[in-house]
């Protein structure tokens, strides 16, 4: 038992963090939200070059083999930088296609970052179907390549473009590896949410250290301190759940990680918004990019109640 990231994993996280910091992701998010995905596509390619998508693709299809721990490490950083796009969905699509007759057709392109994929699960919305090259729909009869997508709906997180996929389309397989793919989707969402929460905490700590009201930095007020301490506790206890779930991949562990990481991120978002006051409530201030994402990830790929049912074994 050595439940610690090794030096290589830490270096991977650090390099991704450095690259995303230099890439000015907030402006990429704003472009994406406005419906201008060019900068987002460019960033996607650079992310792919670090191997993120290849971590969800077997080596025989030009991937690095499915490596859930490294995938979780990467998604924490993607969430920390509020990277837009169908990140979880591309990983999920890779998992759905691996081992099917269509793996060769799609997986190398996904691993290389040449194509984005999105997935709609049982009639739910597909994320960023307006930009994704491949749009998959999952239904009881199997996995299909959707013939198209409806109009983009306005969303509380403007960087998430939700769309209903058109019915029908090419039937790719009647027996996709559904449990495995949902497990990876939840794990990636959990890691992404954890990263969102960590970024929200960092930004809020920096803000309350310098914001002066009543003659003192507001970070010196005990009520402010204790709310941030609670956010820190929630995030630090979600983190080992995410990494533990990446190691075991059991449904209960993954559900627990999804639930706790998303709850911690959302709690931190509420705290971040409150402690920033009105400025946090504005779309033009960058904090909003994480705030709205924290809310959206709560229900993506498994609601709190669905996750709890998996933990209790009553799902």
């Amino acid at each position: 038992m050595r439940f610690l990231l090794d030096a290589e994993q830490r270096a991977f996280a650090d390099s991704l963090h450095a690259m995303l910091t230099a890439a000015d992701t907030p402006s990429v998010v704003r472009d994406w939200s406005r419906g201008d995905p060019a900068s987002g596509r460019a960033l996607w390619s650079r992310i792919a070059q670090t191997g993120v998508f290849a971590l969800a693709v077997p080596e025989e299809y030009k991937g690095l083999g499915v490596r859930p721990v490294e995938l979780a490490v990467a998604f924490v950083e993607l969430g920390r930088h509020a990277v837009p796009g169908p990140l979880v969905e591309t990983v999920t699509a890779a998992a759905l296609l691996a081992g099917t007759g269509h793996a060769e057709r799609f997986l190398p392109g996904l691993a290389a970052g040449e194509a984005m994929a999105t997935v709609a699960y049982e009639g739910a919305y597909a994320l960023d179907a307006d930009v994704a090259a491949h749009r998959f729909s999952l239904s009881p009869d199997g996995l299909r390549l959707a013939p198209g997508a409806g109009a983009v709906r306005p969303c509380l997180d403007p960087a998430r473009h939700l769309t209903a996929l058109l019915p029908g389309g090419e039937l790719l397989t009647t027996e996709p590896p559904l449990p495995h793919a949902l497990t990876l989707a939840r794990l990636a969402t959990a890691a992404q949410a954890l990263g969102v929460g960590l970024a929200l905490l960092d930004r809020t700590v920096a803000y309350v250290r310098q914001r002066v009201q009543f003659g003192a930095p507001i970070g010196s007020f005990q009520a402010v301190k204790h709310r941030l301490a609670d956010a820190k506790i929630a995030l630090e206890f979600a983190r080992p759940l995410v990494l533990g779930a990446a190691l075991t991949l059991t449904p209960a562990d993954v559900a627990a990680a999804k639930l706790r990481a998303c709850e911690a991120a959302y709690t931190t978002a509420r705290t971040a918004l409150h402690l920033h006051g009105a400025i946090g409530y504005t779309a033009e201030y960058d904090l909003s990019l994480w705030l709205t994402k924290a809310r959206a990830l709560r229900t993506a790929w498994g609601s709190p109640d669905e996750c709890r049912a998996d933990v209790l074994g009553t799902a």
Binding site: Y125, L273, A278, Y281
Partner: protein, 379 residues
């Protein structure tokens, strides 16, 4: 002690209900935080005012019915139960108007209130500044004496409704040399389209321009638009702030209607057991808030001052409102992500509740110090 309303009160309620049934738009108006929605909500205020439903508790000479507090509460219950539109002139009606009633001149009331009641003039508030949010006493925007009035300069921000409103009210520092920061402030009304005013809309979380920054550069305001004595603005504003978190900012009717809609949503979704306790708590909370308000109104009508009790009120409704709308979005599942629903519009609106009108930290300090008698000082 009783909860029964008089025959006359019940008749008033019935009259309101009938009118609302006939007039409430069957299709919801566009969001009032958009230009088109603002105009539609302004037109709705005119429709309300035409039949004297826009400010039922005001004296008739300003456009009201002199209906009093209890009928106002009943009207609000009917109004929100009918699913009627949000009130675009809330700032004017619940903040500026009470101030004018308490501190304005009859000339000011006669000039300002009727056009407020009809929605012809929509008012924005202009309290906050970049360095003065919760700490309102540290305001810097200036009012400098000029012949027959004052020149306003400086910056205001988080000015609700200012993106599309006509006029605004706020505090300006008229005497920079007072020993304490909350002295030397003057309460002023001004025109958002006056020379020297620049309005920069700010988008809230969902991108809608729910508030604005105001840049003021030697904006002339005549003496007749100063409320109360110059230099007494703080005291006057605090009576308004007490009002803001007091009885009339958030009527129980809003939350009773929201709780009923949440209950219906839960039933529509098959009454999921995992959400049952949150839905029950929403129903109970709305009832608690209604009865708390009835008790406060009864005390008020018996001549007791409300005072710091209103801080209990503010913390309760602001946290309640968020919890209710979070539950709704959770029940909506994937649809909870959509921005173009009533639920999401109200969710975003609710998120600001613990911040404005005195943050909930300030309210809890007030509760602890003024209601419980705990020592002041350290925070």
């Amino acid at each position: 002690m009783d909860l029964a309303f008089t025959q006359e009160e019940e008749a008033f309620r019935a009259e309101a209900r009938v009118w609302l049934e006939a007039h409430v738009p069957s299709v919801p108006l566009p969001s009032l935080e958009t230009e088109a929605g603002f105009a539609a909500h302004r037109a709705w205020e005119a429709e309300l005012a035409a039949d004297r439903w826009s400010v039922v508790d005001w004296p008739t000479r300003y456009g009201g019915r002199g209906a009093g507090l209890i009928r106002w509460l009943l009207f609000e219950e009917e109004y929100y139960a009918a699913g009627a539109p949000g009130r675009v002139n809330q700032n004017g009606v619940s903040l500026l108007a009470p101030t004018l009633f308490d501190h304005g001149t009859e000339e000011q009331r006669a000039r300002v209130l009727p056009s407020m009641a009809t929605g012809e003039v929509i008012w924005a508030q202009a309290w906050s500044e970049p360095e003065a949010g919760s700490d309102l006493a540290s305001l810097r925007a200036r009012a400098v004496r000029a012949p027959g009035g004052w020149h306003l300069s400086g910056q205001k921000t988080w000015s609700s409704r200012a993106a599309f409103a006509d006029r605004a009210f706020g505090l300006f520092r008229s005497d920079p040399d007072t020993p304490k920061p909350h002295q030397g402030l003057t309460y002023v009304m001004f025109d958002l389209r006056a020379p020297g005013v620049t309005v920069r809309p700010i988008g809230r979380l969902d991108g809608k321009p729910a508030f604005a920054e105001l840049f003021l550069d030697d904006v002339f305001v005549p003496d007749e638009d100063v409320i109360g004595e110059p230099g007494q603005g703080w005291r006057i504003a605090m009576s308004t702030a007490a009002n803001e978190r007091g009885l009339t900012l958030r009527s129980p009717g809003r939350f009773l209607a929201s709780a009923d809609r949440l209950h219906a949503l839960w039933q529509d979704r098959g009454s999921p057991a995992g959400a049952a306790h949150r839905v029950a708590d929403a129903l109970i909370g709305a009832r608690a808030y209604q009865l708390f308000t009835y008790a406060a109104a009864s005390r008020f009508l018996a001549g007791e001052p409300l005072g710091p009790q209103s801080s209990l009120n503010k913390v309760f409704w602001s946290e309640y409102d968020i919890a209710l709308h979070e539950t709704a979005l959770d029940l909506l599942g994937a649809d909870g992500e959509l921005a173009d629903t009533d639920w999401s519009e109200r969710y975003v609106f609710s998120l600001a509740g613990p911040i404005y009108a005195g943050t909930n930290e300030i309210q809890r300090d007030i509760i602890a110090e003024r209601l419980l008698g705990l020592p002041k000082g350290r925070r």
